[in-house]
Amino acid sequence: MSADLNIFVTEETLDSDADGPLSGKTVAVKDNISTEGLRTTCGSAMLDDYVPPYDATVVERLKNAGATIVGKANMDEFGMGSTTETSAFGATKNPVDPERVPGGSSGGSAAAVAAGEADLALGTDTGGSVRNPAAFCGVVGIKPTYGLVSRYGLVAYANSLEQIGPFAPTVEEAAELLDVIAGPDANDATTHDEGADSDYASAADGDVDGLTIGVPTELVEGADDRVVETFEAALSDLEAQGAETTEVSLESVGHAVQAYYVIAMSEASSNLARFDGVRYGKSGGYDGNWNESFARAREEGFGAEVKRRVLLGTYALSAGYHDKYYKKAQDARAWVAQDFDAAFEEVDVLASPTMPVLPPKLGESLDDPLQLYLTDANTVPVNLANLPAISVPAGEAEGLPVGLQLIGPKFGEETIVRAASAVEN
């Protein structure tokens, strides 16, 4: 069963001798997180034989906590995609319905937990890549506040946006895994003292009495009716438990997808410049000059979506276009952050459907990249504003999982964990 779903790029077990909170737990690790001595491909032909000489900080912390790593989970190439179909190792199938995508880019990680191939998993979220597959596979996924979790050893796609985050069957277990990986790291200067000695797991007490939940109208309006119906039923359930809901407006989010893609592509074009086939990765050979060799390595090693984003990012940063695209995108990013700050003066958390659509069928979404980018509308604002968010199963529509997203203020992980645990009641 699991082999058919194509969950792992590399299925190998790394045991830990340590005794800790994750002893006896199995964890799947997304294949863009470095594991010493264990192949780490980023879902790309470019790195199909790359073996990291060191562990990412989060992998070190998993091992110290006693976890058993059971494999490297499939993903969209370099995290660029929302369906796990851009992987050079083939698409992962959704365990809930194998004709459908598991979401992405951390689709293998979410599917591993949904299929019971691992108790827990790590993914990465640059514009929704943990929350999207959590929603589509019917599991819990957390995108931490920027700086809560070390990115040391994560192969970078868009540094200013991405965070490593946990997947689990329940909110409490996801929070437990977050407690293990969170906290400052001397090897990542963007990490923060928040998260040292955290205890997010004990916040999963389901107590939402008196909690105020804002619902941004802009993040509900465009969604599929069946998704909205399930979302609203979950909200009513929270109200029945004593929470208060109120509509809020985030005017800026209408520009979030554009801003996100301009910034992510620009950062990608710079980050992926390192793949020249000399120090690691597919070699372009030694014929001709270095420019020709590098361009050959990259033609051969990168798939279509990666080329598309690297080229568009190069375009957005090139002479004459920088102010039009990149600078305006930074303005939009600041605008989105201000909008969220204003909303959190009125409410404790914000709620929306995680994804505006139900999981699409395999092969349905690849022909039109722009249409696929638009399905990230509800997740990317969170990354632009550096905020924490969680996706928790809200119920089903036509037998398919629907995720509810809860967004908190910076380092408000306890609040979103508490609110999400009430959704499970």
Binding site: G277, R279, W290, N291, F294, L311, S318, A332, A334
Partner: protein, 92 residues
Amino acid sequence: MSDTSVDADEVRHVATLARVDLDDDEVEEFTAQFADILTYFDALDEVPEVDTETELVNVMRPDEVHEGLSQEEALSNAAESEDGFFKGPKVS
């Protein structure tokens, strides 16, 4: 159809800047897709200028030698190396 027009030569130029070889089919496909995507990005023109007050903190550590990868480890993924160095293609 679109406000922002991109032609095949521009796609080839950007591909050269990014050091990515493209075949003719890819150029054709990207030319059409880039027009759509860049037209969509044009909505950023409507974004107001935003004043940001970012608090910046110096996070640099003292410049001290720490343990790092060994030469052997650093070279372990290189396609070719010579005398303990990476071997790259000719510069020109």
